[in-house]
């Protein structure tokens, strides 16, 4: 019973991701594109929850849906009028884009579907607990990630300073 419910939720999430990501790149109103992107990001968080990576799902919701999307909406409202439509794409450009996308998807899909991965040992229900994540994030041994963590913090500091430098009025 639970298996069936999981599959139904999985197909629902997949449908949301595929439809909304295609709508996000084809919609001519940019605010709508941002909204579709929001749905895609939420459905991705749903994937992470389904794979029992609850911490990653929470991170996805807070940082992507809560932080980046708000930035996007503010930037859109600052730079374009409401209800403004982008002009039509020239057919040549559309053809090149379609060619790149379809060809790439075909090659990737063919490779994925013909390659046989070795059997997975994933068992549903084994949630990754917070203690493991914390120890791996703060440790200095092999397979532990203190140095990247510190590097990220320096990167974020540089990003704050750079953002202020770029965006301030002269």
């Amino acid at each position: 019973m639970e298996q069936v419910a999981n599959q139904v939720i999985f197909f629902l999430l997949s449908a949301i991701i595929v439809v909304c990501s295609i709508m996000a790149v084809t919609s001519r109103r940019i605010l709508r594109a941002a909204t579709y992107l929001l749905f895609v990001l939420f459905a991705t968080a749903g994937y992470y929850f389904q794979l029992d990576y609850h911490f990653l799902g929470a991170v996805q919701v807070t940082i992507y849906a809560g932080g980046i999307l708000v930035l996007f909406v503010f930037a859109i409202l600052l730079t374009s009028k409401l209800g403004e439509k982008s002009d039509r794409i020239s057919s040549r450009k559309r053809a090149w884009g379609l060619l790149a996308a379809v060809l790439g998807a075909a090659i990737c899909g063919y490779t994925l579907l013909t390659h046989d991965f070795f059997p997975s040992q994933f068992a549903q229900g084994g949630e990754l607990d917070m203690k493991t994540v914390g120890h791996a994030l703060m440790g200095m041994d092999k397979y532990q990630y203190l140095l990247p963590f510190e590097a990220i913090s320096v990167l974020l500091l540089a990003c704050i300073i750079g953002g202020i430098m770029i965006a301030r009025k002269r």
């Binding site: 996000a24 790149v25 594109a33 884009g97 790439g104 990737c108 068992a123 990167l155």
Partner: protein
């Protein structure tokens, strides 16, 4: 497992299509986020299904999300600065540098 990867492939190439065809800088950035997100899904799914005892993909995705946040913030700062200078953000109009 293969279904997850197929979905993320479709998402990635939707991003590629938007990246090639869009004129608006913010729309290009949205397509970029789609592509990054698809790659994140791939890391997590491969980690979870093929190597459930390890955490490499998990942490790679965690750091990728942080870097994506930083990158988006800087990119939006640059875009708003461009808007302040030339009053629109179409890529066709951004072809002059200061020097």
């Amino acid at each position: 497992m293969i279904y997850y990867v197929v979905v993320s492939t479709l998402m990635f190439f939707a991003g590629v299509y938007g990246f090639v065809t869009r004129h608006n800088l913010l729309a290009i950035l949205i397509s970029l986020e789609l592509m990054l997100n698809a790659v994140d899904i791939n890391f997590v799914v491969f980690n979870r299904y093929l190597f459930p005892g390890q955490l490499e993909g998990f942490f790679f995705t965690l750091f990728a999300v942080a870097i994506a946040a930083a990158e988006t913030a800087i990119a939006i700062a640059i875009i708003i600065n461009i808007y302040r200078n030339i009053r629109n953000i179409n890529v066709d109009n951004v072809d002059k540098m200061k020097y």
